[in-house]
Each structure stands twice: as structure tokens, then as C-alpha cells.
């Protein structure tokens, strides 16, 4: 038996000197990344995890906080409002964003102008843009004044502090996140395909339906995903322009923290985070989306 | 050459201005699961001052070999010695080897002057002398006055010259070039090939040049190492490789060759007599194949003639009956596809001339060629 084993142990002994000296150069990448990784762990990841742990260890290890959500009417209404708002906003962005993306890609001399119009609000803070909608939608705001002047209403209507105001402002804020990935996908379509389609007798509408739309689906998926996940976590805009009773999950969490109700706040946070991550995880499995998502995140 | 720093690789037995390079049983395997050897036992003696070209198809291991000489890849086994001294453990920046990269790798953020001065700066050459050496180097590649420009403001050919100037300004004794003309158009490539030869003569240093272009290799090199599948298929002068290929790969890769299946019938001195398509063909042969052995004979299309043509000296000895299957007029010459006996295809190239009769498809003819142009591979 020992004679059979010997060659293997011999080979091991021969190969050892090659691998044993520690090569410092191989550790350099990790040493470069380590300061930031440690920083992120200490000042960001561990705090968030410690907070989330309150949902399962307050006062002792338990899942009861999650169990109570099942018949928590406030939570369920809030969760429903949050999902509902996100879906509405995402659809709104898709309907408004697709034509602009096509306009951006098709435009020649106008393209830089269109890009600036898209990017300028993109670069402006959420707070300032929400404030702008407060100015526009208020009781004596421009929208009411315009509707009065046109004779469409007799007296000012309430828009500010309604769900509609939240939806309008959020669509405005999230629209660039929809436009840019779609424009990216449209730009990658080989123009000769479109020429080929019209050369084969396809009408512009058929070309759009059968060539452009299917080929831009990866961008549509990435934009929809990005918009939806960002919409889920919105806090500032609904708090500023939304109705006092139509609170979103983020607002409910903030309220609970104000009341030092940490266990409940942590439980809601875990649900919000899990929802966002679950959507990302599912969507990333779709062909093409992962890639488009990554390029548009740059 | 004051203040040029130490010549890192130059302390071995030195002869002439160029370094000698010895590759012994060089091997490279990338640590991927079941990866084939990229370089598989390459041994080469590159003489001082020689222009050696490594020629081969992509994936033949020529670039990997060059990268090991430069120090960017570590050999899995074997040794590399420059002037008799092993450099395997030496990092690339101490090897003192000039290198011209495939896409030139000029630093886009530096001017031409700063690019060419870069190796001098690394060696601590004082500014005034640096400027002088840079100007000389730019003169050498016919680009004086371009110092203040950025690489993007130059044409491809000019960028290539700057890359050469940068690689030789610190007077290395060895210059490596990785397909340096690959990205240029044909006309420019031919001009620069001549310039490379002139540069080699002027500098007198050793050049190791990698290319997949056989014409480039034949025009420029003192010797060519033909690479295939990580091995050296043959080393020799361009004439050696063209006229006396050692094996079928070299015969097929360099120039065009006809391969004739034959059976050995006997030997006369170092000439083998073999039967091919019913005719006895004589061929040069270094070994002594046994009678009855199946062999392949090779011959170049332009060395064949129709036997009824005009011959300057004694008519050649090898003859074969053929049928013309295709005739193409290609300007300076005519190219014929011929068929001998039961199916061996043969290509024949004949200089075009008003006095030579063109053959028609289907015509029967006899072709002839010299024994010296027939090799057993």
C-alpha cells in the first residue's frame, strides 16, 4: 500500500517550494481596496445591519414583529400606497420617456439641446425639484391660475398635497432614469436594420413595432426596473407635495423613528429593502437586463 | 554616451553593439484548466546584431515568446539568457530592452518629445542632454520638429516612427517589435519595411521582430524562425526557408507550394527517386527513406514550366503530364490549375508575355521543373 501512495506524496513535496513563498504583489489589490471596504463596513453597512437586527432581537430573539405585519392595517395600506405609487410613476415615466428617448437618438443638430433639457433637472436636487412643484401646484400656483384663465375651473382646485401631486413630481424626478437606458438601447440598434425593414416594404409603424421596439426592450426593462426600485424608496417628494394621509413606507419608517419605535421601524425597513432587492434579483435574471442595467448605472 | 545609466543586461560576454539572446526549452502554460501550452519547448540562438523574425499564424506562440523576452510573462519552464546571463528573474524595467508595440502604445497625455524622453527621464539623464538625445532620435526616424505635438495629432505612420524613436533613444542593445506595421496600409508598410532595415543597419543592434506577414518576414530578416503550435517549425535565412523547407507546415505557410504524393523507388547520392502519377520524379532529400515508403514532394508554382516552352539552359529533369483545369490571367503572370493523373492538383505560375502562348482549359500538356526545386518533406 505504501508504495502506491508514495508517488502522490512525492509530487506534493516537489510542488511545495513553488507555492510556499508568499507573494506580496498578489496582496496589493486587496490592500488598496481594504481601507474603503473597512470604512464602508464601519460607517455604513454595520450601522444599517445593527438597525435591521432590532426587527428580530427586540426585546429578545423573535419573529413576532414580522408576524404582526400580517394583520397590521396601517402597514398594509402604506405598503399598497407605496407599490401603487411606484407602478403609476413607472408607467408614467415609460409612456413619457420612450418618445423622448427616440427623439434624443433621432435628433441630429437638436440632440445636444435635448440632452441638456433632460440632464438639467437630472442634476438638480430632489428637494429643489419638489419645491418647484409646490410652487406650480399650490392653491395660487401657476397651474391653478392657468386653468382659471382658460375657464376650465371656477375656483382653485386642490392639487398640492394630493396623491396626484406626488405622482406628477415623482414622474418629473425619475423620468431621466427611464430615458437614458432606453436611449442607450436605441443607439445600439444598427441603422441599416431600419433601412432594411423599410426597403422590404415595412411601413414606419410596422418597422417600429417589429424592429425598433423588440430591439430596445433591454433598455425598457432596465429603465423600468431602475425607476421602480428608486420610486419604492421615495421619501422627500411625497412628504413635501403628497397628501397628509397618503403616506408611503419611507414616511411611515421616519415617523416610527421619531417615536423611537425602533423595532417597528427596523421591521418596515427590512420589508422595504427586501422588496427592492427581490425585484432586482428577479429582473437581473432576465436576458439582457443585467447588462443594460450595469451600463446605465455608470 | 555619458549619463546613460547602467546597462542592466550588458555585463555578460559582450560582442558588438547588439545583444545575443538564447532561449532554451522555453515553455509557457497559462494557469487555466486544461490549457494547452502557449509556448512548448522553444530553443533559439539569436546572434549579436541579427535581425531575427518570429513568423507564424495567430496562436503560434510568437507573441508570448516575445512577451517572455521582454519580461511581461514569466516562463513556466526553460531559460532566457541575454549575453549569456539569465534574465528570467529580472523585472522588465531592468532588462534594458527597447520595445515597439503593436498599436505603438504612445502615452496620449505626453507630447512626442516627452514620449521619446520618457526612458531617459527614468534613467536620470539630465534635461539638457535629454533634449539633445531626443532630437537625435527624432532625426533618426525622420520626424525632426514634431516634438511639441501630441500623439493624436500624428498619422499612424508618424506614430509608428515615434514609437521606434522612443524604443531606441536609450541605446538598448536589443529591440523587440510586436507586429509594428500591422495597422498600416500596404504602401506605407512597404516604405517602413525598408526604413526598418536601414535602421537596423545604422544601429547595429539585435532586432527581434514578430509578424504573421510572410512577405514582411522575407523582405526584412536575416533569419526567420517559423512558429507553429508553440514550437519552432524551422529556423533559417529567407532563402533557406523558401527553397528548402524542412516540413510541410513551413512549405505551406511561406509562399505557395504544390504537394505531390509519391512512393520512393530508389536513391542516387542525396537525391531520391519517387514515383508520382506514373512518372519518376527526382527530389532533394537529406535522409534515406526506404524503398516503397509513401512520401510527399513539394515544389513552388513559379518554378514549374510547360515543357514545350523555351529553356535557357539544359532542360529540367522532372516531367509530368497534366490537364489544364483553370486558367487565370493576373497581370504580371498567368496562373494555371492543372490536374495530373487521378486527381493531384498542381498550381503553375508563368510570367505573362506576348510571346508565350496561353493555355486553354481542357488542354493536355507536359510540365517540367528542376530537381533542385523539388524537396521531400
Amino acid at each position: 500500500m505504501s508504495e502506491v501512495v508514495q508517488p502522490a506524496s512525492l509530487a506534493l513535496a516537489v510542488s511545495r517550494p513553488k507555492t510556499s513563498p508568499f507573494d506580496w504583489r498578489r496582496a496589493v489589490p486587496l490592500l488598496l481596496a481594504a481601507p474603503l471596504l473597512i470604512y464602508m463596513l464601519v460607517f455604513y453597512a454595520l450601522p444599517v445591519v445593527a438597525m435591521l437586527l432590532r426587527s428580530v432581537n427586540d426585546p429578545t430573539w423573535t419573529l413576532s414583529h414580522y408576524a404582526t405585519l400580517l394583520d397590521d392595517v396601517v402597514f398594509q395600506k402604506t405598503f399598497w400606497i407605496t407599490i401603487n405609487t411606484s407602478v403609476t410613476v413607472t408607467l408614467g415615466c415609460l409612456i413619457l420617456g420612450y418618445p423622448v428617448a427616440m427623439g434624443l437618438v433621432r435628433a441630429k443638430s437638436m440632440a445636444p439641446f435635448i440632452l441638456v433639457v433632460i440632464l438639467l433637472p437630472f442634476w438638480t436636487s430632489v428637494l429643489v425639484r419638489s419645491y418647484a412643484w409646490m410652487v406650480l401646484l399650490g392653491r395660487h400656483g401657476l397651474v391653478n391660475e392657468a386653468l382659471l384663465a382658460l375657464g376650465m375651473i371656477d375656483r382653485p382646485i386642490r392639487i398640492l398635497n394630493t396623491p396626484l401631486a406626488t405622482q406628477i413630481a415623482m414622474i418629473h424626478i425619475l423620468l431621466p432614469y427611464m430615458i437614458l437606458p432606453i436611449a442607450n438601447a436605441l443607439r445600439q440598434i444598427d441603422p441599416s436594420l431600419i433601412r432594411a425593414a423599410s426597403g422590404l416594404g415595412s411601413t414606419p409603424f410596422m418597422t417600429f413595432r417589429q424592429v425598433i421596439l423588440p430591439l430596445s426592450m433591454s433598455g425598457v426593462a432596465a429603465g423600468t426596473l431602475l425607476t421602480f426600485v428608486l420610486a419604492l424608496g421615495f421619501y422627500i417628494t411625497p412628504a413635501m407635495v403628497g397628501g397628509p394621509r397618503d403616506i408611503t413606507l419611507s414616511m411611515l419608517i421616519a415617523q416610527q423613528v421619531d417615536q423611537l419605535n425602533w423595532a417597528y421601524a427596523a421591521t418596515l425597513s427590512a420589508v422595504l429593502l427586501a422588496t427592492a432587492l427581490a425585484i432586482l434579483a428577479v429582473a437581473r435574471k432576465l436576458p439582457g437586463v443585467g447588462n443594460a442595467f450595469r451600463t446605465s448605472m455608470r | 554616451m555619458t549619463g546613460m545609466g547602467t546597462n542592466g543586461a550588458g555585463s555578460g560576454p559582450v560582442s558588438g553593439r547588439g545583444a545575443s539572446v538564447t532561449l532554451s526549452n522555453l515553455e509557457k502554460t497559462y494557469d487555466r484548466a486544461n490549457a494547452a501550452k502557449a509556448v512548448d519547448g522553444v530553443s533559439l540562438d539569436i546572434r549579436s546584431g541579427e535581425f531575427l523574425t518570429m513568423l507564424g499564424p495567430s496562436g503560434s506562440g510568437k507573441t508570448t515568446t516575445l512577451m517572455m523576452i521582454a519580461g511581461f510573462e514569466t516562463p513556466t519552464a526553460g531559460d532566457i539568457a541575454i549575453d549569456g546571463k539569465s534574465v528570467v528573474a529580472m523585472p522588465p524595467y531592468r532588462r534594458n530592452i527597447g520595445m515597439v508595440f503593436q498599436n505603438y502604445a504612445l502615452f496620449p497625455h505626453l507630447t512626442v518629445e516627452e514620449n521619446v524622453g520618457f526612458p531617459l527621464k527614468q534613467r536620470g539623464v539630465p534635461k539638457a542632454e535629454r533634449a539633445k538625445l531626443v532630437a537625435e532620435a527624432l532625426e533618426l526616424v525622420h520626424l525632426p520638429g514634431y516634438g511639441a505635438r501630441y500623439p493624436r495629432q500624428l498619422s499612424g505612420g508618424q506614430q509608428q516612427r515615434v514609437a521606434v524613436a522612443r524604443a531606441v533613444v536609450f541605446r538598448p542593445r536589443l529591440l523587440l517589435m510586436d507586429e509594428p506595421l500591422g495597422a498600416l496600409d500596404k504602401q506605407l508598410r512597404e516604405n517602413l519595411q525598408l526604413e526598418m532595415r536601414r535602421l537596423h543597419a545604422d544601429l547595429g543592434i539585435t532586432f527581434i521582430y514578430v509578424t504573421h506577414d510572410q512577405e514582411e518576414a522575407l523582405t526584412m530578416s536575416d533569419r526567420i524562425a517559423v512558429m507553429n503550435d508553440g514550437k519552432v517549425a524551422q529556423v533559417g535565412s529567407p532563402e533557406d526557408l523558401y527553397d528548402r523547407p524542412d516540413n510541410r507546415f513551413v512549405a505551406g505557410f511561406i509562399g505557395e507550394s504544390n504537394f505531390l504524393p509519391a512512393v520512393v523507388r530508389g536513391m542516387e547520392d542525396n537525391i531520391v527517386i519517387a514515383e508520382c502519377e506514373g512518372a519518376l520524379i527526382r527530389a532533394l532529400c537529406p535522409g534515406r527513406p526506404a524503398s516503397g515508403e509513401k512520401v510527399t514532394l513539394t515544389t513552388r508554382p513559379e518554378r514549374l514550366r510547360f515543357a514545350d516552352g523555351v529553356w535557357a539552359g539544359t532542360p529540367p529533369q522532372n516531367r509530368l503530364s497534366v490537364t489544364v483545369t483553370e486558367a487565370v490571367f493576373a497581370g504580371e503572370r498567368c496562373r494555371y490549375m492543372l490536374q495530373a493523373g487521378d486527381g493531384t492538383s498542381i498550381v503553375l505560375k508563368e510570367p505573362s508575355s506576348a510571346t508565350i502562348r496561353r493555355r486553354a482549359v481542357g488542354e493536355r500538356a507536359e510540365i517540367a521543373w528542376s530537381v533542385a526545386d523539388t524537396i521531400l518533406v
Binding site: P29, L32, A33, L36, M40, Y44, L46, P47, V48, V49, A50, M51, L52, P99, M102, G103, I114, V117, P121, W123, T124, S125, L127, V128, A132, M134, V135, G138, H140, H172, Y235, I236, I253, A254, V257, L272, L273, A276, L277, M297, R298 | F72, P92, Y93, R94, N96, G98, M99, F101, Q102, N103, A105, L106, P108, F118, Q122, R152, G156, A167, A183
Partner: protein, 269 residues
């Protein structure tokens, strides 16, 4: 045929109007001479800019925001650039773990990050200090630095670094004389993003700025609770101009870096 062209163009025009108009309105209102919010303004003047520049309640938060953002730029750019250099060379498994941690603030809802940070920082008495703002904002700004530097690193031809080594530059000299100058536009773009991220950040500031480190967005938020005074329009316009200028600069830097690269490769091809 003409209608087919004009209709989509006018639809796109309307949507672009929807995007730009609210911001234009804020800018116009800021130059109003009226004491209350009305549109269009009865007359134009600079009174709300004067109100802003003469009120320490506005100027102090402005300085806090600028200092915090400046410190975030230094910290995030340094840590993020180092990490980007390292991550690019990490083995695949480790690279994915490291990138997920570093990029996660882009995905995790802001409120979750904010209350997590509040929860932990409060325990160590950091809430209400500018240091807490810098520490927290750096985490939010770092993803932008890392993505920007990584993108410019991946655009560098590895042969440039090989060329430097072959010309006698040590690995250190190669980094400082070749790699660093080449990724410099990416580092600058990342730094600009880091600045804007911190300067505009509100949610974390709501929880941890306390009374000791009130930032400009926090001050605006508090003010909006009570009144919609056109001073906010003036402040908003100033921040729009500042961020637009910085983002415009970042955009131009990136375009220029791209042009440099393509010019070289097209000349070589």
C-alpha cells in the same frame, strides 16, 4: 406625411417642456419683487438674493454644506480611487463581493441608510456634528467615484503600462507617470459627483445634522414646513446654477477623455 413627422416632434417637445419648465419657474420666481409667491411676478428685482446673502440663518448652513462637501470630496476621492485601482485586479469572487458592498448605497432606499446611520451614530454621540455628516456622506458619494475611476481604468490600454515598464520605469514610476495621469479625468469626474452628492443630500441630514450641523438642504426643508418664501427660490436657483456648472464640467471632462482615446485608436487603425 408631414403630420406624421410634426406630431411626434410636438409630443417630444411637450414632454421636454414638462421636464424643463418647473426649474425655469423657480429661477423666474427668485427674481420676483413681490413679498409673496406669485407667478408671473409683478416686477423683477434681487430682493430675495439680498435676503439670502444678508441672513446668517441662511449663510451658516451654506458654509456647513460647502465644508462638509469639500471634506467628502477629499475622503471619498482618496478612498474610492485607491479601491477602484485594487478592485480591478481582485480575483472575480472577491471583486463581486467588494463591488456589491461599495455600490449598494445606490440601491438601498435612502430612508433605510439614513435611519441605520442615525441609529449607530447616535450611540457614539456623533449626531449633530459636521464630522458625522462627512462620515455618512462619504459612504453615499463613494459609489460615484469608484464607478467613474473604474470606467476610466478599463479604458486604459494595458500595453501603455507595459510600454512604460519596458522603457525602464519602475512599477511606482509607471503608476505616477502613466496610470494616474490617464485616469485623472475619471478621478475628477468622480470628485465632482461626490461634491454634488453631499451638497444636495437631505435624508441623512434630516436625521443626523441635529442642531449643530444644519446643512443648506436641511435649512430649506425646515423653512418649507412653515412658509413658501421666495428666498428658497433664490437659494434653489443658486444651487441649480452651481450643480449645473459642476455637472456640465464633469460631462465635458468625460467627453474629452473619450475623444482623446478614440483619436489615438482611430489613427492607429
Amino acid at each position: 406625411m408631414m403630420l406624421g413627422r410634426i406630431l411626434p416632434a410636438s409630443i417630444v417637445g411637450l414632454i421636454l417642456f414638462f421636464l424643463a419648465f418647473p426649474i425655469v419657474v423657480v429661477a423666474i420666481v427668485s427674481f420676483s419683487s413681490a413679498t409673496y409667491l406669485t407667478f408671473p411676478p409683478p416686477a423683477f428685482g434681487l430682493r430675495w438674493y439680498e435676503a439670502y446673502f444678508s441672513n446668517p440663518d441662511w449663510l451658516k448652513p451654506t458654509w456647513v454644506s460647502l465644508w462638509v462637501a469639500a471634506a467628502v470630496v477629499v475622503l471619498a476621492t482618496f478612498l474610492g480611487t485607491l479601491a477602484a485601482l485594487g478592485i480591478a485586479r481582485l480575483p472575480k469572487g472577491l471583486r463581486i463581493v467588494a463591488a456589491s458592498l461599495i455600490l449598494s448605497p445606490l440601491i438601498v432606499p435612502g430612508i433605510v441608510v439614513a435611519i441605520g446611520i442615525y441609529y449607530a451614530y447616535a450611540r457614539y454621540g456623533l449626531v449633530g456634528t459636521p464630522i458625522a455628516m462627512v462620515l455618512a456622506h462619504t459612504c453615499l458619494a463613494v459609489p460615484f467615484v469608484v464607478t467613474s475611476v473604474t470606467a476610466s481604468l478599463s479604458g486604459i490600454d494595458p500595453r501603455l503600462e507595459q510600454a512604460a515598464l519596458s522603457l525602464g520605469a519602475t512599477p511606482g514610476a509607471t503608476f505616477f507617470q502613466v496610470t494616474l495621469p490617464l485616469i485623472q479625468p475619471g478621478v475628477l469626474v468622480g470628485a465632482l459627483f461626490a461634491f454634488i452628492t453631499s451638497f444636495d443630500e437631505l435624508i441623512v441630514a434630516l436625521f443626523i445634522s441635529g442642531t449643530g450641523a444644519v446643512t443648506l438642504p436641511r435649512r430649506m426643508w425646515d423653512d418649507l414646513r412653515f412658509q413658501i418664501d421666495p428666498t428658497i427660490a433664490a437659494v434653489s436657483t443658486l444651487t441649480i446654477v452651481l450643480t449645473a456648472a459642476l455637472m456640465g464640467a464633469a460631462h465635458l471632462l468625460r467627453k474629452r477623455a473619450e475623444r482623446n482615446r478614440t483619436a489615438i485608436s482611430s489613427a492607429a487603425a
